[in-house]
């Protein structure tokens, strides 16, 4: 057993957990944030994607003990009160989901992509960089549209901020 402290969505969460505990189990079972999903458990599907110290990772393939002291953002940490995060809003507007199972991971991966590219994205790059996220429903079309739209708004917002 190890005493592990992970700051999740800005709140320090300390738990006594078995060393084999995965980060996704820590988030879902120990802290009770069930927005992060487990789709495959074999590191393929990306449903469990969270940000670990600012980078998108598959939380089913990280040990909680190894994330001791780290900062994690999950899907629950994106919205500002009742106001959706721009990427959540874009998925909503473009109907970038059907059953919604992959959506938390898709959105966390998309936020990471937009941030790393400063919103400078084209369709090819979005499709390429979402390779680690599998959706069984949508055929990806509307997901890609949503990400491109959110990227454009990100660019616009930053251009305004820069002025």
């Amino acid at each position: 057993m190890s005493r592990v402290t992970i700051t999740i969505n800005g709140r320090a969460e300390t738990r006594e957990v078995e060393d084999r505990t995965l980060l996704v189990q820590f988030i879902r079972e120990h802290v009770g944030l069930t927005g992060t999903h487990v789709g495959c458990d074999t590191t393929q599907c990306g449903a469990c994607t969270v940000h670990l110290d600012g980078r998108a990772v598959k939380s089913c393939t990280v040990l909680a003990a190894a994330a001791d002291g780290a900062e994690v953002t999950t899907i629950e940490g994106l919205a500002d009160g009742q106001t959706l995060h721009p990427v959540q809003q874009a998925f909503h507007e473009h109907h970038g989901l059907q059953c919604g199972y992959c959506t938390p991971g898709m959105i966390m991966a998309s936020v990471d992509i937009i941030r790393r590219h400063d919103g400078m994205l084209d369709e090819h790059t979005v499709r390429h960089e979402l390779e680690g996220n599998i959706c069984r429903c949508t055929g990806y079309h509307n997901i890609v549209k949503a990400v491109l739209d959110a990227a454009e708004k990100h660019r616009a917002a930053h251009a305004v901020a820069a002025e």
């Binding site: 060393d19 998108a56 990772v57 040990l63 190894a66 960089e129 390779e131």
Partner: protein
């Protein structure tokens, strides 16, 4: 996953001492090969010794002659490094083609090179670029390091600390990916060294893991064009065959990948 005990040593000496004093220990780096293996209960180490907090294993240093990369450096960091991109663009491009974004944010060059998966990318660069592998106890030249499927010259408990690549005149990497797993079905890393020698390393295809295709090297050392490879075939009995690609198809892919690597010297061609 079976129960295990996690350790995070801060020094090489501490890591090796832990390894030597523990029952059934295993080193852990990015975990992107090891954790899936543990989850499938294909291995049951009693102690996981995380190497990522050891300072010697981190960082990228580029001089006029060499690129030295710490073993715990993540694929994403190699792919994004301006210095690596300038010195050996094919190496940065290779790193950026591994798995997917999330895998590249965790997986490390040392973990990949220690694991020596026959379909992994890095072993081809290490072998083609004739890298020197620095461990906690010695230096191993690439030609002596790879010893077959998932097998390397590393002794039990030996830690890969950093990888030293000599900067070539030019290098290229071409890969044909399995669309589901994204691992290579065949890939070629071709580099022309400053002494004029060309080295061709093939991954994803060989039934003994990464290997040098010496016949191609001879031709390309004389004439570094795709045309120089015309008519050169590789024996399918040296190739892996599986449900994704039979051996004769892989043998064909090897010749196509070698050609593409030559046509894309100074970069990569990934499909």
């Amino acid at each position: 996953m079976y129960a295990t005990t996690y350790h995070k040593p801060r020094t090489l000496a501490e890591a090796v001492a832990l390894y030597e004093s523990s029952d059934e220990p295993t080193y852990l780096s990015g975990g992107h090969t090891l954790i899936p293996t543990l989850k499938n209960r294909l291995a049951a180490p009693q102690h996981l010794i995380d190497l990522r907090a050891i300072p010697e294993l981190s960082g990228i240093a580029v001089t006029s002659d060499t690129v030295v990369i710490g073993a715990a450096t993540k694929h994403a960091a190699v792919a994004a490094s301006k210095e690596v991109k300038a010195a050996i663009p094919a190496l940065a491009g290779l790193a950026g083609s591994i798995g997917d974004v999330q895998v590249r944010h965790m997986g490390t060059i040392g973990g990949s090179t220690a694991n020596n998966d026959p379909a992994a990318d890095y072993p081809s660069a290490v072998l083609s670029l004739n890298a020197i592998l620095h461990t906690d106890r010695r230096e191993i030249p690439a030609d002596e390091y790879f010893q077959g499927l998932y097998t390397t010259a590393l002794e039990p408990g030996e830690i890969l600390v950093r990888l030293e690549f000599r900067i070539p005149d030019i290098a290229g990497y071409a890969k044909f990916r399995n669309p589901a797993s994204r691992y290579a079905m065949a890939a070629a890393f071709v580099s022309k060294h400053r002494d004029g020698h060309v080295r061709v390393a093939i991954t994803g295809a060989g039934n003994e893991g990464v290997f040098r295709w010496t016949e191609a090297e001879e031709r390309l050392t004389e004439n570094l064009t795709a045309k120089a490879l015309d008519g050169l075939a590789i024996d399918p009995s040296r190739m892996m065959g599986d449900m994704h690609a039979p051996a004769d198809y892989r043998a064909h892919l090897v010749t196509v990948m070698a050609r593409r690597a030559v046509q894309n010297l100074g970069g990569t061609h990934i499909v």
